[in-house]
């Protein structure tokens, strides 16, 4: 009737391997950054708005800066904001989700209702409002993104904790006198790690979107630092003169989000996490 499909677990491993390779590429570019860029990202040249040439593989921008170099260095900025923001959201989500799920009762109710309020805002709208209020600096951008993704993170941590805390091994640990804090951290949290990993990966992809979208709207890190979002916005502005300059930032943004989506899908199948 249907051709045999590869087993999900195996398919998941392949996807995770691909995702990890893509992630390694991103991180390598992020670390090496300026040292592998062919030019300085701020060095101007008289050849402005050139298409791809042998000297400038991706072309040049409106004041003759090399787009490939700006893309490489800009990746560092975009990815740093992404990773730091998600790390913050993850930490906050872990603390809130674990506290809420493990202690339960009134504490759970209060924390979850408070997070519901943040959850009620459309993420991107809230991000714009917060950045608008705080001002578009790297620090504020990180803070904003951490805030808007904390509720999602906390929910993902809380759900499995609610059931795991009733498992036998938790009771066993308690009976031999392990402290509640240690139980939560060592006996409950490790069991909940699979869905957290998948969700973190998905949120990383979403964050790439939010960071680049904010920069695209001019609410990203202030110039002259290059950034994928603002590069795309600029390329769009001069589209009629140099249409191909759109390609670089567009591909970079897609590659980065794809990395985390492939990772998330692969992890989901490999670790056998329900899709929702």
């Amino acid at each position: 009737m249907s051709e045999p499909a590869p087993r999900p677990r195996h398919r998941g491993q392949v996807m995770v391997a691909v995702g990890v390779a893509m992630l390694a590429t991103l991180i390598l570019i992020m670390i090496l950054g300026p040292s592998i860029a062919p030019y300085s990202p701020s060095a101007t040249s008289p050849n402005s708005l050139d298409g791809p040439t042998a000297a400038h593989w991706l072309g040049t921008d409106s004041i003759g800066r090399d787009l490939l170099s700006r893309l490489i260095v800009g990746g560092r900025g975009t990815l740093t904001i992404t990773f730091v923001a998600v790390a913050l959201a993850l930490t906050a989500g872990l603390i809130l989700g674990l506290t809420s799920g493990y202690i339960g009762g009134k504490v759970d109710l209060i924390i979850m209702r408070l997070l519901d309020v943040v959850f009620a805002f459309p993420v991107f709208l809230l991000a714009i409002a917060v950045v608008a209020a705080l001002g578009p600096t790297v620090k504020n951008l990180i803070l904003t993104i951490a805030i808007v993704y904390t509720p999602a993170m906390a929910r993902v941590v809380r759900a499995p904790v609610l059931s795991i805390k009733r498992w036998d091994h938790v009771e066993a640990a308690r009976s031999v006198g392990v402290g509640e804090f240690a139980i939560a951290l060592r006996h409950v949290l490790p069991m909940a790690i699979s869905p957290i990993l998948v969700q973190t990966s998905l949120i990383l992809a979403n964050t790439i979107f939010t960071v680049t979208a904010l920069s695209f709207l001019g609410l990203g890190p202030p110039p002259p630092d290059p950034n994928w979002g603002s590069m795309l916005a600029e390329a769009r502005q001069f589209m009629e003169l140099a249409p191909l300059t759109v390609i670089g930032p567009a591909v970079a943004i897609v590659f980065a989000s794809l990395t985390f989506i492939v990772l998330a899908n692969g992890l989901r199948e490999m670790l056998d996490v329900g899709s929702r």
Binding site: A5, P243, S257
Partner: protein, 314 residues
């Protein structure tokens, strides 16, 4: 049923209250900026600052300010725009209508496209399933503003004669209006269609394994009857629900799409207001769209519960 609706609405009230506090607090937390923005300049005399403060009621205690603001908001007064000095509500409403139309079109597009690919993926399995899931991963990875930019590039450069980027007001030319929103709606819909597609796939697979589908086959019914009356009709309810819950994503995305395609909707209004630091407008938009999303979620819940009475066994 009525009780369920009331309970569901009652649960929303504290969240709405929290939302209003955040929307209010966000803009008042600014150190001094609010007054400067209201006065419309960065260098003003202390005298002007003081008058502005009094005019805006900023000299009162913060909770009193919130009370007044909330009371006004409930009676349909969201304050006055700093930039245009006109009531925010009167500027927001026509733009909200435009965004509503765009969002609706995008939602329907996402539903049509996502349901089709999801159904194909679940029914045909094998290669089709692989292709659809690959396409979905890719679509999910291409942010809507990148899609929109590429569409603008493609059509603007290579088919400039079509001239679809000029927004046409509905009142002026209904058909032209819909045509002018077509490409923006598609760019907005693609990401959301992935969610619809994945949920359709899951729902169809779930329904396919139900006994009543086996019974339908044992009845010797035609394949198209089974597909339409047994599979799709049962899978559609959760799919429409999920699409309804994507409203927040669509509203968020509309900010980018409207800016790129220069559509005079709420998103573009927000973007302009952010650049102009027109805080009452930002506040108003945040409050209004969050309320809409919350109410929409309640609506979806209620609608689902209604259908569910029929769907659930026992």
């Amino acid at each position: 049923m009525l009780r369920m609706i009331l309970v569901r609405l009652a649960l929303t009230v504290p969240i709405l209250l929290g939302v209003s506090i955040v929307a209010f607090g966000l803009m008042r937390a600014l150190p001094g900026d609010f007054v400067l923005a209201a006065a419309g300049t960065n260098t003003v005399s202390q005298e002007v600052i003081d008058t502005t403060r009094r005019q805006l009621g900023l000299d009162r205690p913060i909770w009193e300010q919130y009370g007044i603001w909330l009371q006004n908001a409930l009676s349909g007064d969201l304050g006055t725009s700093f930039a245009t000095k006109k009531p925010v509500v009167s500027e927001l409403l026509p733009r909200l209508a435009v965004t509503a139309e765009l969002t609706l079109m995008a939602g329907l597009t996402a539903l049509a496209f996502g349901a089709t690919t999801g159904l194909a993926s679940a029914r045909l399995r094998g290669r089709t399933d692989w292709a659809v899931r690959g396409l979905n991963s890719l679509l999910l990875a291409v942010p809507n503003f990148v899609i929109a930019t590429l569409i603008v590039l493609l059509f603007g450069l290579y088919f400039p004669t079509i001239g679809i980027f000029n927004y046409v007001p509905f009142a002026k030319d209904p058909l032209g209006n819909i045509v002018s929103l077509l490409l923006p709606a598609i760019s907005l819909a693609l990401t959301v269609s992935v969610t619809v597609s994945e949920n359709t796939r899951a729902a169809v697979l779930e329904v396919s394994s139900q006994d009543y589908v086996m019974v339908a086959r044992a009845k010797g019914l035609l394949a198209r009857t089974i597909l339409g009356n047994y599979l799709v009709r049962n899978a559609l309810t959760p799919v429409i629900t999920v699409t309804g819950l994507q409203l927040a994503a669509l509203l968020g995305g509309s900010i980018l799409i409207e800016t790129i395609f220069t559509i005079p909707g709420m998103g573009q209004y927000l973007f302009d207001s952010v650049t102009r630091r027109d805080y009452p407008v930002i506040q108003g938009i945040v409050l209004v769209s969050s309320t809409i999303v919350l109410l929409m979620n309640v609506l979806v819940d209620i609608a689902y519960a209604r259908v569910d009475a029929r769907v659930s066994y026992e």
